[in-house]
């Protein structure tokens, strides 16, 4: 398919495609490298941002942690003085603005033998510091803030919760404290301080990345502690979000976060706020086991590079279009003249040489081709006009030759049997010229009532000179014969006449015979012609002996003699020119005298016409496709005698 498309199309296709490939490769490389550079920059910035934020949170939490830890240390060596505990607790709540409430909760009967529950609790509410005992209705032994540090035997941050009576997000830090009982150090209870996480929320929500990036904090359970979407806080965990999104990778990231690992999510995380793909980094808050996650919206981070790439892409595509246009232009300048020339060639092929050729504008290959083409047209035009002239003249010649052929054939007797009223003999002749006109001829005519003169001759050479010479010879023979001369005299006279002015040194072989139809006697003279054959009525066939006399027209002084042969009834004479015996086949073999003799001996049918035709047939078969080189002429006379008498 592509094969048949034009050069312009191919050029545009290949140039544009290859340029596009190169451009795409450069663009892709550029895109990824610049993206990596930006990502590196972001990673550094993100690292700094997260570090600063987690440090702030750590500072805040560890400040809070110190308070109950100091109390635990103090309680271990104090006596269980209720008043003293109250003062300490009150001071804690009063002096620490971030502390919302504080309690010292004792193990069953650890404070006093008669008290299963003993847990004084001071807390801020309604603008004042309030007090209550956490009693058996509350059953603090079952609550996480008590149970978890108690069972784990270590200080713990409790899962955040919403404070009672309001939407204040809180968390508690609980520290077990110990007393020596019977020399053994045993857990005597738990000190807990409640803190508001509002300031922590402020810290995290102050993280603003570009337009829509944000930070969030999850607890040890993966529960959202802070998030721009309020509904998620304390209601969803990162794992329920992953489950809703059917995102196992997010679940894996969440597991790493709650295990206290830091890192970057290996995939794009969908922003819960905008739904955009985000790059997510996370870092643990070591003291509480929580984790800070920060989302950087991909498209916003990549905005600059996206813009740059869009411009590069635009420039690249524009460049490709311009390149395509340029290629089209160049291709046109080549293919335009070529197309023009192709059209011109069609016209020239159809013979219209006057078609206008594209002007030669350039000196390049196309210009040279154009020039050469123009030269070729002129040469062709000249050649064709010469050829036309030559053809015309040849045609004229051919038509003249055709006329000459017709005339030549016309002067030979063509009507057989020529004398239907004469029963004494049969005569038949056939001529097949090698070209339009030839030098062979035969003739027969009655000189008087009894004497039939018959002639077969072969002029040297071929074509028009031979034909003219033949016509001359034939006329001369007929003229001499009708004067009543004998055959030797006829040939002698003809020889003399022909020799006069025979500048061309042409000659002719002639066999001239005079048959007396009454007696069957044949008087003949052979002027250098092939000896005829005598076919006896009994079937014997033989050549006449060679006369040894000269061919006619060559020498004025030549002498010719007359001989005679007696034909009996049924005897025949077979006369021929050398075109018969010297007929050549494709292997350059001659038909030969022997073959002629054999053929004539073989035929049973002695009818003159049939026999001559049969020999001709044999010759044609013998020569096959080899061109006829000489005129073929045959004549046969069968003597029948006077049958009437």
């Amino acid at each position: 398919m592509l094969k048949n498309k034009g050069i312009a199309f191919k050029l545009v296709l290949f140039f544009t495609l290859s340029s596009a490939c190169i451009f795409a490769a450069i663009f892709t490389y550029n895109y990824f490298v610049s993206k990596r550079m930006i990502a590196k920059g972001i990673e550094e910035n993100a690292g700094n941002l997260i570090m600063t934020t987690t440090n702030k949170i750590e500072t805040m939490l560890s400040a809070t942690q110190k308070v109950p830890e100091n109390i635990a240390y103090f309680l271990e060596n104090s006596t269980n003085d209720e008043q003293e505990l109250f003062q300490v607790l009150y001071a804690i709540v009063e002096k620490n603005p971030e502390i919302y409430g504080a309690a010292i909760a004792f193990e069953p009967y650890a404070f006093r033998k008669d008290k299963e529950f003993f847990a004084p609790y001071f807390y801020k509410a309604y603008g004042a510091i309030n007090f209550k005992y956490l009693d058996k209705h509350y059953n603090y032994f079952l609550w996480d803030w008590y149970q978890i540090p108690r069972e784990l035997d270590q200080p713990q941050w409790i899962e955040p919760y919403f404070g009672e009576g309001g939407g204040i997000l809180m968390s508690s830090y609980s520290v077990p404290f110990y007393k020596k009982v019977d020399g053994k150090r045993r857990v005597a209870g738990v000190i807990v301080v409640d803190i508001s996480l509002e300031s922590l929320r402020d810290i995290v929500s102050s993280i603003k990345i570009l337009a829509s990036g944000y930070g969030f904090l999850i607890s040890k359970n993966g529960t959202f502690v802070t998030h721009p979407i309020k509904e998620l806080i304390m209601n969803e965990t990162i794992f329920t979000i992953a489950e809703a999104r059917e995102d196992t990778k997010l679940r894996d990231v969440g597991r790493k976060m709650i295990k206290g690992e830091k890192g970057v999510a290996p995939m794009w995380v969908k922003s819960a706020v905008t739904g955009k793909s985000c790059w997510m980094a996370y870092m643990p808050i070591q003291s509480s086991g929580w984790s800070l996650g920060v989302l950087f919206p991909q498209d916003e981070l990549m905005e600059d590079i996206t813009n740059l790439n869009q411009i590069v892409l635009f420039l690249g595509i524009t460049g490709l279009v311009l390149l395509a246009v340029a290629v089209v232009f160049i291709a046109r300048s080549i293919t335009g003249p070529l197309r023009h020339m192709a059209k011109a060639t069609e016209h020239i092929g159809a013979g219209n040489f006057d078609i206008e050729l594209p002007p030669v504008k350039t000196g390049d290959e196309v210009g040279k081709l154009s020039e050469a083409f123009s030269f070729m047209r002129e040469s062709l035009k000249e050649y064709i006009s010469e050829l036309t002239e030559a053809t015309a003249s040849r045609e004229r010649m051919e038509s003249e030759l055709k006329i000459a052929h017709d005339i030549q054939m016309g002067i030979l007797p063509k009507k057989f049997p020529p004398y239907p009223e004469r029963t004494e003999f049969d005569i038949y002749a056939m001529i097949k010229p090698a070209r339009e006109i030839g030098g062979d001829f035969y003739d027969f005519f009655f000189v008087d009532d009894e004497q039939l003169c018959f002639v077969i001759a072969d002029v040297s050479g071929k074509g028009i000179p031979a034909a003219l010479f033949m016509a001359l010879t034939k006329t001369l023979i007929k003229a001499k014969a009708t004067m009543g001369l004998t055959t030797d005299k006829i040939i002698s006279r003809v020889n003399e006449d022909l020799c006069i002015g025979n500048d061309m040194s042409m000659f002719v072989t002639i066999f001239c015979g005079m048959l007396n139809v009454k007696t069957g006697e044949v008087q003949y003279t052979n002027g250098g012609h092939n000896p005829p054959l005598l076919i006896k009525g009994n079937g014997d066939v033989s050549y006449f002996e060679m006369s040894g006399e000269l061919l006619v027209g060559a020498m004025e002084e030549a002498q010719y003699t007359s001989r005679s042969v007696m034909l009996g009834r049924g005897d025949s004479l077979f006369l021929y020119t050398d075109g018969v015996t010297e007929a050549m086949n494709e292997r350059n073999e001659l038909f030969s005298d022997e073959r002629l003799l054999r053929e004539l001996s073989g035929f049973q049918d002695k009818n003159t016409e049939h026999l001559v035709s049969a020999v001709m047939q044999q010759i044609v078969e013998f020569t096959g496709s080899a061109p006829q080189s000489d005129d073929i002429t045959m004549m046969m006379i069968t003597y029948k005698g006077n049958q009437i008498s």
Partner: protein
């Protein structure tokens, strides 16, 4: 407000009822259904969640109305215990655990089960594989978190069955102690705490689950109860309520998304934190518990005597009841008699 009209004006209500019954025998069903809507009230064990999806769905889809009941659903919670409200006559129907109901009946509160909705125990024990627990024997010597009262019956029977000695830690309202490895094994409801544990980032393949029904200790849980005196007063309403509730469940299982929307709506109305993923898990597990795949023979909502006797026997062994109430008195298979 909670009291039905029947109770406030027993005589006039009776007259009205008698009149409509007479009228009904001469008129079309449609007219009767419209004309005889009876007021009734219902309370589930807890605040709205997918554990009670069937009732909320039946209410929202008008199925109770189709059965001639103009229902009021009260919001359950820690301070609204169905048994207490039933006893006080503040509510007509409530869902109660089978083990609780048997105990209460033997204590003289004449509860009647009109439909056993949850066929299989959702209560289970969950352990972390990482703490070396993959089979019941591994629990020996470990710390086990247990809830109180009837939530202890199956775990204790389980421990006894395998001869396990453990340190029992009273379990609080969260699974945080378990998540922080303060206990090795924790009690959980399959539809609730189990998913909470998963939602805290623990993968199911990190957990070993002990389902009591797999150890011959299946206790059917939520059933629908009514006081015997109320049942006798109008058995048709009770049966209609049971039937409509079952239809509500069937609708909820067929249209889970719609059911979740309804549940979440009620949760929002009750100011309960609503987590769709958690509720979806809960609804799916309720389906497993209400229509257990290997209990094809049991029609939805029926109580098998075998289950009943197993629970009662366990209660008796623990000294929680002295005598097993008669099964026929306790359970009225009544949903099949209901008509629209």
């Amino acid at each position: 407000m909670h009291n039905s009209r029947i109770k406030s004006h027993p005589i006039s209500a009776f007259l009205f009822l008698a009149l409509t019954v007479i009228l009904c025998s001469f008129s079309t069903n449609l007219f009767c259904a419209e004309a005889t809507l009876k007021n009734a009230s219902f309370i589930p064990q807890w605040s709205p969640q997918a554990q009670f999806a069937g009732y909320y769905v039946a209410f929202e889809k008008g199925i109770y109305k189709q059965y001639g009941i103009d229902l009021t659903i009260k919001t359950g919670g820690p301070h609204s215990v169905p048994v207490d409200l039933l006893e006080k006559g503040e509510v007509d129907f409530g869902t109660i655990w089978l083990s609780t109901a048997i105990q209460k009946r033997s204590q003289g509160i004449r509860l009647i089960n009109i439909s056993q909705i949850v066929q299989r125990s959702a209560l289970m024990l969950v352990a972390k594989r990482g703490r070396g627990i993959t089979k019941p024997e591994d629990i020996n010597g470990k710390k086990l978190g247990l809830w109180r009262d009837e939530f202890r019956l199956q775990p204790l029977a389980f421990l006894k069955k395998f001869g396990l000695h453990v340190k029992i830690i009273p379990q609080s309202y969260s699974v945080n102690l378990f998540l922080r490895d303060g206990v090795d094994v924790v009690s959980a409801m399959w539809y609730n705490e189990y998913h909470t544990i998963m939602s805290a980032g623990v993968n199911p393949d990190e957990l070993t689950s002990f389902f009591f029904h797999e150890y011959g200790l299946n206790f059917p849980e939520d059933g629908i109860y009514i006081l015997e005196q109320n049942f006798k007063k109008d058995p048709a309403v009770a049966c209609n309520f049971a039937k409509a509730s079952i239809e509500g469940w069937q609708y909820a299982f067929k249209h889970p998304d719609e059911a979740l929307d309804i549940v979440l709506k009620y949760m929002a109305m009750a100011n309960a934190p609503a987590n769709r993923v958690h509720q979806r898990w809960m609804l799916n597990r309720m389906k497993d518990l209400i229509l257990p795949e290997d209990d094809k023979g049991i029609a939805i909502g029926t109580l098998s005597e075998q289950d009943y006797l197993r629970v009662a026997g366990e209660l008796r062994r623990n000294g929680l009841i002295s005598q097993t109430p008669e099964f026929g008195d306790f359970y009225k298979e009544c949903a099949k008699h209901a008509e629209k």
